[in-house]
């Protein structure tokens, strides 16, 4: 038996892929998380009220989602309902996270696969053969920085936000600042659309290069955004069947009853399944499970996706295109939301902490994220983090098998396999720091 090992770059964290082959047959494909963060252990005994400042450090890419999930878990335990304005500011925070994450995944992580370069920082202006590639790194970073700046505006700090607090947020948003930022978003929207259009176009070229879109088989989908419109500050988890029916709805506390979670002996991350079937979370799940984006430009892209690929759509490389739709959506919607006034004072309500159990749910860029705390004497007695990447583990491995079988024949390994492995994994945009929290 031969084991092929592929280290991975251009993803968050340390991971690799191992493919076992015997006499030309693919025996197994494994996706291995190589590091162990262990926040579930580290937060033992930590004063519960400090969780919102500590847990963003699980991951600097998804920090905002953890920040908000922590606050919501504490609110659930304390029986607190934040005022509507605070919820709206939290939604803005999550939109900032979405902009930053989707722009990073699209342009920094996967664009180089489309262009056949090491990184977008390795395209010199002389090499940039089309206008679309000109200055691509700077434009991409400019767009993703909007996300970070929105997080700063709504969340205080730029990577590890601080402003969501139990009972609400610690302050509104200054009207002048909001207005200035709204203008920036407006100005950047066409730039983002241009990049997304270009990305879409070069992705379609790859159709021939890979032969197919990779793993195109149906799967279960999981998401917590709403049925009619996306909403990232979410409250209900939904599962869709491979045929596209919405089969199940549940709140975060029912997670263990609804999904099967297991550890593996070859990875520091676990994995989940739904009734024995492969689940997919992340952008494609949301696109399949939300009727429309509810805003002009994003809806135009959504219609294009549906008319080109149908509904529900299964090809894995559509994850990337859906990220593009969400990027446009988040910029467009944030600039619309910022027309409202967030500068007034009813942004939090008083509360009394108490012991007990709480669940916090948000739709992170990678899917539903759950924080679950048991609080005793004001301290965390048990902290559990249910990470969206973990829902995609089986789907990643299934897609890797499709790629492996495609490029391994008898005792020949087509060198394209290495590229394919990278593309397959990046389509799911896994986050290893989170998955091993």
């Amino acid at each position: 038996m031969t084991t092929l090992t592929f280290p991975l770059s251009r993803i968050e964290g340390h991971a690799r892929v191992e493919i076992e082959v015997r006499e030309g047959q693919v025996i197994s494909t494994r996706f291995q998380a190589m590091e162990k963060r262990g926040f579930n252990l580290m937060v033992q005994g930590v004063p519960a009220e400090q969780m919102p400042v500590i847990v963003p450090r699980i991951c600097g890419v998804c920090s905002t989602a953890h920040h908000v999930a922590a606050v919501k878990a504490l609110e659930d335990a304390y029986g607190v309902e934040p005022p509507p304005l605070a919820n709206q500011i939290r939604e803005l925070l999550l939109l900032g996270q979405l902009i930053q994450n989707q722009a990073t995944s699209l342009f920094v992580f996967t664009m180089p696969d489309r262009l056949g370069v090491q990184s977008i920082f390795h395209i010199t202006d002389e090499e940039a053969d089309t206008a679309a590639q000109f200055n691509i790194a700077k434009r991409a970073l400019m767009v993703r920085q909007l996300g970070t700046d929105l997080i700063t505006l709504a969340g205080g700090q730029f990577i590890h936000p601080v402003k969501a607090v139990v009972g609400g947020v610690s302050g509104g948003i200054d009207a002048e600042k909001a207005d200035a930022f709204r203008k920036r978003l407006r100005a950047a929207l066409p730039v983002a659309c241009e990049l997304v259009d270009y990305y879409w176009e070069i992705s379609l070229h790859m159709k021939d290069r890979i032969g197919t879109w990779g793993d195109d088989q149906p799967a279960y989908y999981i998401s917590s955004t709403e049925r009619d419109n996306p909403r990232y500050n979410s409250s209900i988890i939904r599962v869709m069947t491979p045929a596209g029916e919405c089969c199940r709805e549940f709140t975060a506390d029912a997670f263990r009853k609804e999904l099967i979670f297991e550890e593996t002996d070859y990875s520091y991350a676990g994995r989940t399944s739904y009734q024995g079937g492969v689940i997919r979370a992340n952008s494609l799940a949301r696109a399949n499970m939300t009727r429309r984006m509810g805003i002009r430009r994003a809806d135009a892209y959504m219609r294009r996706l549906r008319s080109e690929f149908g509904h529900p759509a299964h090809p894995i490389l559509l994850f990337d295109l859906c990220r593009g739709i969400e990027l446009v959506y988040a910029i467009e919607l944030a600039s619309q939301l910022l027309e409202d006034d967030y500068s007034h004072n009813e942004v939090d309500i008083p509360y009394t902490p108490r012991d007990g159990e709480g669940w916090g749910l948000v739709e992170a860029p990678r899917g539903p994220l759950i924080h679950h705390y048991v609080i005793e004497k004001g301290n965390i007695a048990m902290g559990e983090f249910i990470i969206p990447t973990v829902h995609n583990m089986l789907a990643i491995e299934r897609a890797l098998r499709v790629a492996a079988e495609r490029y391994i024949h008898d005792d020949q390994v087509n060198l394209e396999l290495e590229q394919a492995v990278g593309r397959v994994v990046r389509a799911f945009d896994p986050c290893i720091a989170c998955a091993t929290h």
Binding site: P7, S9, R10, I11, E12, G13, H14, Q32, M34, E35, K36, R37, G38, L41, Q44, G45, P47, E49, Q50, V53, I54, R57, G60, V61, S63, Q100, T104, V108, Q118, S119, I120, F121, H122, K138, L141, M142, R144, Q145, T148, G156, Q157, F158, I159, H160, V162, K163, V165, V166, G167, S170, G171, Y266, S267, Y268, N345, V347, D348, P350, G422, A433
Partner: protein, 287 residues
Amino acid sequence: MTLKQPPRFAVLQLSGCAGCEVSLLNASEWIDQFDLAFMPLVTSAYDVPEVDVLLISGGVRSDEDLHNLRQAVKRAKKIVAVGTCAISGGVANLGNRDEVRRLFMSQTERHDLPRLLPKSQPVDSFVEVDLFLPGCPPTPELFMGALLGPEDFVASKTVCQECGRKKLKDMKPAHLTGSRGGEVDPEICLINQGYLCVGSSTRGGCRALCTRPGHPCVGCRGPSDLLIEKDSQAWLESIQRVFAAMTDIPAEEIHEALLSPQLSLFLFQFSDYAGTGQPPRPKEKVL
């Protein structure tokens, strides 16, 4: 005519959250001035090539981290430890507490994967570091400062001096406000409002990122030059003095709050507190 080559730099990510890298991506100025040779988060390259500057983020948590660290430093002229994790283990110190360490050791063993070391350790426990860039994460501006040369980076000594909130003589809280503060006054010093802000002893350079929008500084930039060559006790005393002068909060209440986990980002930057037994870092080497 030969064109001057831009300096080459690499980013080695050990065990951390990638927040430091995300911050670096917000400082897009380096694109024109530097050649990024290696940063697995954004480039497909698997070995650190010869570089002028090596930025290292994250703590040393596994045998693989240690191996990668030792290999990488051989190829770099200048070594910069970036972020609280690389400098002190940062938030990972919460996992170094004995009772938690036991859980780690008993639960995390996988066939064929990197093995965890008994404790998360700072980079300079193993290799020589030329410059420390504290922050969780350091701001894009600080990253540019480290890359372009710390000599030219201008900052105040403490976060307090960069914050600009007014300190009032006649507003003395009797207790800490805790996290249930309600609304924060945008002009007045957070200590006057009863918040446990440690900006007065934290090194400047972040431009008071957290305190300006109203959140107390948790000290991620570590001790200011006045304290950095001392020990954690000196820091605790200095904060006590500030609170004694500005508030009527009992010393015991402050003391207890200062030892709380969210300040571990700060406290563990003292090697005596972290128990690494190393001499304090010389202030000339810290940006």
